[in-house]
Symmetry: C2
Subunit: 504 residues, 2 copies
């Protein structure tokens, strides 16, 4: 225990760090710096990605831990140091708000969402039990109800919750499916099961699906991949074959995982046909709609997810196409009665027997997380400001841009789009004359090297993938300020860096 | 696809929402409101918890989704509406910064940590691949190195990463332990294993440990609980008995889970003795140091976790006793070579074969999450400002207050402390004369009802637990602005509400 003199000294240092006036001063500085930075980034006055080797950034970040202020530094010194740190963090970060960012499925978020999120972080509104974040709970509940109805379910018949990411959401849904399919697996484990249970999945399903099989004790080798049609969508006829065979082998089937849309090229599965097959076989249908679930907010693109309402479980990430900062993902169960299936434990210090009805509002009973952030503050706040229209605009505009980009790729003799995009994910190859007729592996390797040159130049940020094992470039138009002119510049940039790479 | 007129309209609405000037205006308003709120809360000018029934909050939150601004509302209207929403969110939240908050292990965070976090959220710095959050990666890496060395490991010999919460961190560590202990369980699953593998755990281990067994396919019934000593610490002799028996039954042992400290009463296990036993049996030792890991930053309290450096895996939550906003948890592996054991998959669009060394810095290979927040910005920023001293102060002061509270409970004839606290978690019962000699269940039920009255009054926030099945009150002194005077007031408040409850 500290002596009373030591306690009073510690208290003094802490009181200075907790001073509301310090928060005020630092906060206003932060806002000025953030707003100026956003202006610069939106106007492309900086590199998209300020490329530096990881080791250099790690060493620099470590050096700042050694340069903290002397104990007893006054408020002015703290504020000056704070601003320096903010400047550094902004300079070294990825600039998603640059319209030349067309990379991963991580959006340039609606800026005010970051502010609502900041309110939750600074006051530390949490969940697990209702008391810890009464408004966080309220925001999440009303959004679950709203999004579930957009999926197409009648009010109050379904359940859902926010979780820290789509991978965790997929894991949670598949855990519930496993527990339902395999009876006592939650309590007894899987070691007693003779025939290995199977998870049936879209051949291009997100890597978190295979991982879930590994985590849940099913085994990654027990994932049965269903063949795709020409547009890389799950083929219901092949799904039926797979299920028939598995039934013939008397292997337990945990779930079928369909995609809306696939990560690789953004293909939307024919969900209604798939649901028919699953229904015939009495198998749980899980739809990973992390990206495409947001089509539900758009009258124009809603048909892409026709049949989504027939899924037993659905994952929908607001931190993708609802343009929220990470992480704000939702997992839904069509049947409200299954909401406690994934987990079945009690923690006596958490769930109060003196208020039994409350457990319904204690998120900890239904999520992998115990303590959970107020992950939905951004979505709730932005929705309360702008309504559904803004989200529909964001989906409509970026999906339309995806198609416009495809048209440009088609029109260009030296570009080869690899699919007609259904949304804002567009995969293609650059095939300059010098490489026409090159072996596929050479062409694929060229795409990967070229992509790396471009991102390290800071001109654009795009990603790569492999289609049938051969490298390709992949873009997601996920900054709503990107324009067709930026897409033209992207083609030019690829050509220019491609020529340099070929010359090198 | 949208028509070109529709695109231009959508673009206009979006541009207004993304305007840096709007961020500036809203941001400054938020900061003013946050600073004023923090001042009010620290001075206890509001209820700790503004208690309302969940359904009322949900209905109110839902009603705001219906009252969004008309399309085309100008900036002034947006700012006004924004401020209203902020006011509402602040009014309805839990007030952790009130010094009368002595509840769950969720701290009143260092306020500036919320600002660093806000920078990450607004600019949406993410992880999974290095490029997406170069500075987020750098901050995490240097903190992992720093905290691991504080655990007692030589530089660069260990591995670690941040994850979204202690439960997920426990899951990740136990997944790695399972994969190591059971050979091919990641690929083949557990269904082939004849004898059910066992997880051996502290009898009071956090509920996420039992859950992990359920999730990982081991089964919650396969958790073997090790008996405790008189201070509710894991008893190494009983651990040895358990391991001997399990070996005799030829059951595979996944891991031993020890606590530093236990959630229920904050008991620190004798880690060195436990490590000796685990070493003798060649069993993986996992230490859940979510709460107590922070003793490592304090010269005074470091002895509580002596032996922690001998664990194979360790969980340490910065969003507990490092006073960070949720969520910022760390999982560590003593042996760096095991860092990829938990997951073994590849995602071609993520991990770039054109830059092979980079995978080391791509967090997605090592976490359940694919996209991950910049969870360590708050910790990095606050450490860079104040150094280790502030964290040591926070631990020293709150642990000392825990002991001071115990002394008061001991001195009061109508209070019964249930243990001598080792840290800032203190469990006790209120036993007024009218209940002296009452049956234990009656006394326990009284604690739970009384606790609920107090939190609904808004005077204090504390929690409840059960010790040997009987209800008790539980406090965590996790607001550094709490003083001994507040603790005196807490006893008075309990007495006053207790009298009312007995009279009712």
């Amino acid at each position: 225990m500290l002596s009373s003199a030591e306690m009073s000294e510690a208290r003094q240092r802490i009181a200075a760090a907790y001073d509301p006036e310090l928060l005020r001063g630092a906060g206003h500085r932060l806002i000025e710096q953030l707003a100026a930075h956003l202006g610069d980034v939106q106007a492309s006055r900086t590199a998209v990605l300020p490329w530096r080797e990881p080791a250099a950034n790690v060493a620099e970040a470590a050096s700042w831990l050694e340069r903290s202020l002397p104990a007893g530094a006054d408020g002015t010194q703290v504020l000056r140091h704070f601003s320096q740190l903010v400047t550094l963090m902004l300079q070294r970060g990825q600039n998603l708000h640059d319209p030349r960012y067309v990379g991963h499925q991580v959006p340039a978020p609606v800026p005010l969402a970051g502010l609502f999120d900041a309110l939750g972080a600074t006051t530390n509104q949490c969940m697990a039990v209702y008391d810890m974040g009464p408004w966080a709970t309220a925001a999440e509940w009303c959004l679950v109800e709203r999004l579930g109805q957009l999926i197409g379910w009648p009010r109050s018949t379904f359940a859902g919750m926010a979780t820290h990411g789509g991978s965790l959401a997929n894991l949670t849904a598949l855990l519930a499916a496993r527990n339902v399919a395999l009876g006592d697996s939650w309590e007894q484990g899987l070691s007693g099961h003779g025939r290995a249970p199977v998870l049936v999945a879209h051949a291009d399903a997100h890597y978190s699906v295979g991982r879930s099989a590994g985590i849940l004790g099913l085994g990654t080798a027990q994932v049965e991949r269903v063949g795709l049609d020409a547009r890389r969508r799950m083929d219901p006829a092949q799904l039926e074959d797979t299920l028939r065979q598995l039934r013939g082998q008397q292997r337990p089937i945990v779930a079928v995982v369909a995609c809306a849309c696939s990560t690789s090229i953004g293909a939307f599965d024919p969900l209604a046909d798939i649901a028919d097959v699953c229904q015939r076989y009495g198998v749980w249908l899980h739809v990973d709609a992390a990206h495409g679930g947001s089509a539900c907010v758009s009258a124009r693109y809603r048909p892409l997810v026709a049949g989504l309402e027939r899924a037993d479980s659905v994952v929908w990430d607001a931190h993708k196409m609802l343009f929220m900062p990470a992480l704000c993902a939702f997992v839904f169960f069509r049947d409200k009665a299954l909401r406690f299936e994934a987990f079945r434990q009690e923690a006596p210090y958490l769930f109060d027997p003196a208020a039994p009805g409350m457990a319904e509002f204690d998120s900890g009973l239904r999520t992998v997380e115990c303590t959970k952030r107020a992950a939905t503050f951004g979505l709730w706040g932005v929705w309360a400001l702008y309504g559904q229209q803004l989200f529909a605009d964001l989906v409509d505009l970026t999906f339309s841009l995806g198609h416009q980009f495809y048209e440009r790729l088609q029109a260009a003799p030296d570009f080869e789009p690899l699919h007609e995009p259904q949304c804002n994910i567009v995969v293609f190859r650059y095939v300059p004359r010098a490489l026409a007729g090159a072996p596929p592996t050479r062409l694929g390797q060229f795409q990967l090297e070229l992509r790396r040159r471009i991102i390290e130049s800071g001109e654009f940020y795009l990603v790569s993938t492999k289609i049938n094992g051969i490298g390709a470039m992949r873009t997601t138009i996920i900054n709503p300020l990107t324009t067709p002119e930026h897409l033209d510049q992207l083609l030019d940039s690829i050509r220019r860096h491609g020529a340099a790479l070929l010359g090198a």
